[in-house]
């Protein structure tokens, strides 16, 4: 059996066990829908349904987005399939008290990377093996060393351009935005009950999809994710207009890494820069 076949089998067994023991009210994992170019989320409530679970090269989604959804929380304790990258988002949700550890049952998957060719984020993945999960399936994968200079290559590439070219680049990219908010909705860390964009008395950010409004929206989004974004890349994957949102996130992550030596989501006990006061912080101004 292939590595993914073994993982699929182990996931089904683990899910069936926790559902029949009533340890969880729902298991969120991946399933196959013929015709889809990726494996889609499935929500299992009964042990008989576990045949729908799969793990394959196309499990791109970060299911942690569902942990803060009211419809899921109503079901009770949540079992959730997480790759190492997804677990980073779960760690931030724990750190920010959005979920409690006892409310989730984490089913970690040793993941060697997704997509053919491999997704760029998988090539520099530092969490092939998730830690701190309740159950882990698959064979442990040797973690290749990832050098600091490999982490933010998309941001580096754009930063290398003169400022006028960067401005031109982002104007062109952001002018494509149709304000569908798929980037926000798919983001596990955009859990606000009411987003700044929806606050309309007064309207803080213009909702019109002109360059000015789009720029304001994407700057607001980037700033709210600074020091929090875990680089799962879902926003860029789902953007119907192919805006390279990952590069914006990388830039913010790079600044926080350089200034505070902090990278988000590697532990739920992190002291994140924005929520921690330290007299050691440099006082050059706001980030």
């Amino acid at each position: 059996m292939s590595a993914n076949g073994t993982i699929t089998q182990a996931l089904r067994e683990a899910a069936a066990q926790m559902l029949s023991d009533k340890k969880v009210g729902v298991v969120i994992g991946y399933g196959r829908d013929e015709g889809q170019e990726f494996s889609t989320p499935v929500f299992l409530r009964k042990a008989e349904e576990v045949e729908r679970l799969v793990f394959d090269d196309l499990c791109f989604g970060n299911l942690a987005v569902y942990l803060s959804r009211p419809a899921i929380r109503k079901m009770g304790k949540t079992g959730i399939v997480v790759k190492g990258c997804d677990l980073r988002a779960v760690n931030v949700l724990l750190r920010e008290n959005v979920i409690k550890r006892e409310d989730v049952l984490l089913i970690g998957v040793h993941c060697g990377g997704l997509g053919e060719p491999r997704l760029p984020k998988c090539l520099v993945c530092e969490v092939h093996s998730p830690t701190g999960c309740d159950v882990v399936v698959g064979e442990a994968i040797e973690q290749p060393e990832v050098k600091a200079e490999q982490r933010y290559t998309k941001a580096d590439e754009i930063e290398a351009k003169p400022v006028e070219q960067r401005w031109e680049f982002w104007q062109k990219q952001l002018s494509k935005c149709i304000r569908c908010y798929a980037c926000r909705q798919v983001c596990p860390l955009c859990y606000c009950k009411r987003c700044i964009i929806e606050k309309n008395t007064p309207q803080w950010v213009e909702t019109s999809p002109h360059v000015r409004g789009n720029l304001a929206w994407h700057v607001a989004r980037a700033l709210h994710l600074t020091g929090r974004c875990v680089g799962c890349g879902e926003c860029e994957r789902v953007c119907p207009m192919d805006i390279p949102l990952g590069a914006i996130n990388q830039k913010m992550a790079k600044v926080v890494d350089e200034r505070f030596g902090f990278r988000s989501g590697f532990s739920a006990e992190d002291e994140a820069p924005f929520t921690t006061f330290s007299t050691e912080d440099s006082e050059e101004g706001i980030l």
Partner: protein
Amino acid sequence: MGEQKLYQASANWLKSAVDALCAAGVEVLAPTQTDSGKVDLARVTSSEQVIGSYANTAFPLKRLFLPMSEVLLKYEKGENGDVDLEPESAEAKELVILGCRPCDVAALGMLDKVFQWDYSDVAYQQKRDRTTVVSLACTEPSPECFCTSVGGSPQGSEQSDVLVFGNADNTALMQVNTAKGEKFIERLADAVTPAPEGTKLPEPAELERKFNPQKVKGWLDDNFESDFWVENSLGCLGCGTCSYLCPTCHCFDIVDEASWNRGQRRRNWDCCSFSQFTLHASGHNPRPNQAARYRQRLMHKFKYFPERFGLLACVGCGRCLKNCAVGQNLIADLADIESR
């Protein structure tokens, strides 16, 4: 729709069309490659920019008639307190769209119903009036296509001024449906000749029906309250991708963007998947969860719109299921409803 006439077009018809239209000062939109490798309608000045082989364009035609964001008027308050209103001037230049697909063109019939309903929407109608639609019959429907399930056809001619049946050797058969279509044919000059008496249209590409909208509506009529809505919307993230890429979704929001004494009133796309769409000023939200919002989307397309206008608000282009971040599959959902 007038009498349908058939013309044969020679292999260089596309070049002739783009050249003749550009020479006459007509704006031409045709499928081109975008910088991210997709195919989409864009302004062309040469037939060489036009992509020949594609299933459909990334975006439907909607945005050409109901733009994502459109200035409806500008206003300025004078020193004496009077307000000057300036309606946005409309583009009157003739526009020809070449090579859109029959499903997207059929959607214009639905938009027409809405924007010519109890009020004739000037901004919309001006754009419709200036536009000639030359559609291209589909020979190879994509896996996500389901036009035949919603009353359409890979070679449907609804709302098309000219429907083109392209051949492998670049020649084409053209079915002319309207006076605007006649004018297009005239501009092609030598590149077209009337088709011989008895010329038959090609057989339509086969596309299996995936559900029956009448049966779907029958279930919708009785099941406003059902677990189906909760179960099938668990994955839905509540973004606007499906609506914004839909050829028939037409909801909009009107906003004023103003500085101290002047501003503009804009019409922007809006979407029933957003929680704010129905949020009242009181804080009450009649569609309080994603299940209610997902239900609205299906009900509107397959129950309310047909009841009001006698047409389904879906043309089966499949963009919603192709672009959904979580693989929400409208075909599967409707087949599920039919089986209930």
